[in-house]
Amino acid sequence: MARVLVVEDDPTVAKVLEVALGREGYLSFLVRDYPSAKVALQEDWDAIILDINLPGGSGLDLLRYLRKELRKSTPVLILSGLKQERSLAEAQALGAQEYFTKPFSPGGLIKRLKEYVAAR
């Protein structure tokens, strides 16, 4: 069973993802802030859904930490409200696979997620 880490502080999005992932048969694990996410990243996941604005830090810093310091290539799907080009460009440069902006469509996100998990 594939394990997905969800880093998200918004309870609405967290709930939607929980239900959506559950229905696909994924095991999802939710963390709500930067420090907890940093701990959670130490484990191996099949995919990570990552928000950018988190209590205590930025999701982009988590991504940098994952790629540069932990040197993991886990697929990362950014899901953020930020619509500015600069965040998009930065996420890409840091090696995020996808960038979804909120509002989002769970169907689309899950579809891409499945492809990444299957490819591993």
Partner: protein
């Protein structure tokens, strides 16, 4: 002898009038301030903040962090500034010739590399020794310069700042993640806004995890608890009241947002005063009034900044001594504004208030205590009467504190335990019995040190954040 008696009686009545007028002012602030906070609390919607954060309308902000000897706390604080929620900002840490390992700590924590950096020297400041950038955080700049004091460090930071707004913070402050969003919106939505100050709350006792204030707990120390009450009163009533009247003279050095061009235009921070934060605000007011411009300098209750307050008497007294000297220096530097109708409410209300009821208050208060034995010796002292009067004065002070504590219950991030609330209410009772008098004495002393100790800061001791 009769003359003396008459004089003493007259003195009593003058004091009574003073007391009554002062309390009238306080009440006015309480009223204006609470009204403003209550209205504001409803107006700013979370939805609009979200929209603001996610889209391109913002004005980018430079955060200036002057620091001296802060090796214990600096890495933590800088990390918390970098974690703020804002679409585009830079953090400029100015190491003001530290004597400890502050700079080394920064170099290690953020993988700094020295860079050649061309920038505009718009303000004079002590020579910059080196400019560093971080390999990890593209929006972090660290400046190493020769020691020149806080104002000088801020000016050096202002020279490097690139963005239209700048935010001056203390290195030991912790900002609420949304503080910049909340404050900067006001600049975008109103071109006349020159500066915005937020609410400062004591950090002592709070549970902090990696830069997030998780829960507020009342600190254990007596002094720290007193300051919780003092800060609530000063911000929710004092600042709010002045701002509502359009005459806000103080924006704390611990957190304030300014338009950079405006600060540069008036010449940045003055380095020859210990009240540089208030001085800049007064100068902005003064310049704008002299030019006959429409402008606004605001306090808004929402952007919240937590700061560590002194936990021991010595440090607290040094701090208050410095504040009071700063106040006198500002009043002296801008004495032309006093009672000058050209400066509107500032000249006719705010400056006189600060002169009579802030700067001179400790003198009146201490003289009052000193005269008590004189009255007693002259047989004019009626113990019952004096007791009643003291009770009334204390009761009134407590009332104002309670109003502020009540305001604090409305905040989402409040002291959550009921017991803490009870303690706060009890401590409000204690404030007038000792704490207040010691600080009045310190400010009394400071009044006579203004000339001798011009621009002298005195050491601040810091405990370091327990995380």
């Amino acid at each position: 002898m009769n003359l003396l008696l008459d004089f003493l009686f007259l003195y009593q009545v003058v004091i009574l009038w003073y007391f009554a007028l002062l309390n009238f002012f306080y009440t006015l602030f309480a009223f204006f301030g609470l009204g403003m906070v209550a209205r504001y609390a409803r107006e700013l919607s979370e939805l609009s903040l979200k929209d603001f954060l996610e889209r391109e309308a913002y004005l980018p902000v430079s955060i200036l962090v002057p620091t001296y000897n802060e090796e214990k706390t600096i890495a933590h604080s800088v990390r918390s500034f970098l974690a703020l929620h804002y679409p585009e900002f830079e953090v400029i840490v100015v190491a003001d010739g530290p004597k400890d390992r502050t700079l080394e700590v920064l170099k290690e924590a953020f993988r700094l590399v020295e860079v050649e950096w061309v920038y505009r020297r718009a303000l004079p400041a002590k020579p910059v020794r080196a400019v560093y950038r971080s390999l990890v955080y593209p929006n972090l700049i660290v400046v190493d310069k020769e020691n020149g004091g806080k104002a000088d460090a801020l000016n050096a930071g202002l020279n490097l700042a690139r963005y239209p707004l700048f935010c001056a913070v203390d290195a030991d402050s912790l900002l609420d993640a949304q503080a910049l969003l909340r404050a900067s919106r006001l600049f975008l939505e109103d071109d006349r806004v020159l500066a915005v100050g937020g609410t400062i709350r004591p950090l002592n006792g709070a549970v902090v995890r990696e830069g997030i204030v998780e829960t507020l707990r009342l600190p254990r120390g007596f002094l720290e608890r007193m300051q919780v009450i003092e800060y609530a009163r000063a911000f929710f009533m004092g600042r709010a009241g002045w701002s509502a009247m359009g005459a806000l003279l103080i924006i704390s050095g611990a957190f304030g947002l300014f338009r950079r061009e405006e600060a540069l235009r008036v010449g940045g921070y003055r380095t020859d005063t210990v009240g540089e934060d208030m001085e800049l605000v007064v100068r902005l007011h003064r310049r704008a009034r002299e030019e006959g411009r429409e402008y606004r300098i605001l306090y808004t209750p929402d952007p919240i900044c937590y700061t560590e307050v002194p936990a021991d008497w010595a440090t607290l007294r040094r701090q208050r001594n410095r504040w009071h000297r700063g106040l006198w220096e500002v009043l002296w530097n801008h004495r032309v504004m006093l009672f000058n109708p050209r400066y509107g409410r500032l000249g006719l209300v705010a400056m006189p208030y600060f002169f009579f009821f802030e700067a001179l208050a400790p003198v009146v208060e201490v003289l009052g205590y000193v005269l008590l034995p004189v009255f007693y010796l002259l047989g004019l002292f009626n113990p019952e009467f004096a007791l009643l009067f003291l009770l009334l004065a204390v009761g009134y002070g407590v009332l104002l504190s309670q109003l502020a504590v009540g305001m604090e219950t409305l905040l989402l991030q409040r002291y959550p335990r009921l017991w803490d609330r009870v303690v706060l209410l009890l401590f409000a009772l204690l404030e007038g019995l000792g704490y207040r008098q010691v600080l009045a004495l310190e400010r009394f002393v400071a009044t006579f040190q203004v000339w001798r100790k011009r621009g002298v800061w005195g050491e601040m001791r810091r405990k370091g954040l327990e995380s």
